[in-house]
């Protein structure tokens, strides 16, 4: 059994991005990421801080706007519009979740598709489905990068995804499908879940329920990717019961240090790729 080192792969991807950033900067085009955070959600503040730190490491200019929780939609839209038209901004990130008073979908739809480095817009999702080159959702594309880095075969394999969120489950299914896996999507309404998860060569879990996936739910030798991030008794854990499951699988991602760092690395990568399209 091998533990997938997300920190190391993320560092590698950021290293590549740094090299690309240097080339771009020498050509007079330093990539830029604009981050908007509304309110004081502590987890969101940590995530944003990590993203800004990663930008600095790599050489991306970051522009962070912290707005009070009672900011209205038009103020945020105006700010997004400004970034849409700003040649120094290649990526625009609105940290989610937004305060419940705001319409998340409406705000996200204001972001220029070419600067949607989170890949959450309808058009980017549609491009993903259609197999067109795009800035794809960071977490699922991070999972694909992990599998590729470890030379884990995907084509012809049976992939099972537990969870059908717009940010992970559904785009993950499309990405694994385009890598030629046979893909099954399970969720809260799935019957006999463990019978299905036991057929998986590659199991991706993103449901937000601590230690939900037990040893008897996986096949011997499976690759287990844990996208969960929960706290049990104050301690961070994934959706997979790591200690019990890890003995039985061939590869597994730990929490923390698995998928998490990849999300930031893919955001950085998307920002650099986006900057390249703005070179000419």
């Amino acid at each position: 059994m091998q533990i997938i080192n997300g920190q190391a792969v993320a560092a590698y991807i950021k290293q590549q991005a740094k090299k690309e950033c240097e080339v771009l900067s020498e050509a007079g085009k330093t990539p830029g990421l604009a981050v908007i955070i509304v309110g004081e959600d502590p987890a969101s503040l940590v995530y944003v801080k990590n993203k800004i730190t990663a930008c600095k490491e790599v050489g991306i200019n970051s522009f962070c706007y912290k707005l009070p929780a009672d900011t209205d939609e038009s103020t945020i839209s105006d700010l997004i519009e400004k970034f849409n038209n700003d040649q120094n901004v290649d990526g625009i990130l609105v940290q989610l979740p937004l305060p419940k008073t705001l319409n998340e979908r409406s705000i996200l739809s204001k972001i220029d598709v070419g600067k949607d480095v989170d890949g959450f817009s309808a058009e980017q999702m549609g491009k993903l489905l259609l197999g067109e080159g795009c800035l794809s959702s960071c977490t699922p594309s991070g999972v694909i990068q992990l599998l590729k880095y470890y030379n884990i075969p995907i084509a012809g394999k049976k992939a099972v995804i537990v969870g059908r969120s717009n940010t992970v489950g559904k785009p993950m299914a499309l990405m694994l499908l385009s890598e030629d896996a046979t893909v099954t999507i399970c969720h809260s309404r799935t019957q006999n879940l463990s019978e299905i998860t036991k057929t998986a060569d590659i199991l991706v879990v993103a449901i937000g329920k601590g230690k939900f996936i037990k040893r008897d739910m996986i096949k011997e030798g499976a690759v287990v990717i844990d996208v969960g991030m929960n706290r049990i008794d104050g301690k961070l854990c994934g959706d997979v019961d790591f200690d019990a499951v890890s003995e039985k699988c061939s590869f597994i991602t730990p929490v923390p240090g698995g998928v998490g760092p990849m999300t930031v690395a893919m955001l950085i990568n998307n920002t650099v790729q986006s900057a390249k399209t703005r070179m000419n």
Copy 2:
């Protein structure tokens, strides 16, 4: 075993659309569909003729433009632009396939999203993934309508889709998922296909291979939806070996007369729904 009568369900949907059309027309808003066909592909000419006929039945104005096979992209784009701005046009349909000299994706992207009644644009596909109300792909939404008309339960059922096309397989997966099915997508690279198809409560096949699905590939009592349309020895047949499979399943769509008529009915329905949004 019950044969699903696509003709009858399509007639019912068109009847509903006709009533809505009458109400709209009385309010001074007769729905309009613009159809563009390039070249002389015989099958495409038949499809377009059927669509125009259905428009007439229902009371939708249709505007059909037959262009020669050597028409260039800018001519088609200009025509689309004209329809985008025409208040009498609620739906724009570019009949596929286009001649190979033309960039299909680029041309489709010119259609105003609100008039994309085929649901093929990136943005409509993305909205489908995100679960936002949209004009969704006609063939897979027609399949959903068939299942609902026959009160076939979907939630919690195991749905298997064979085929991963952009027009059927992938949107079909998202629609079945949003109806709470557990969804598996199989394709040419899937290993042990029949082991997977045998687990399906609902099996949807869209691969374009005549009589490919045999009796031993399905579960007793399964619901079998055949999206295929092939010719063997000059005779029309689906992707399912109907005679052998029909004895074993609970519901099955015939070819012709199953899914086919639904595609046209859903196009009509999308055009009427689109017209409603243009009422105010």
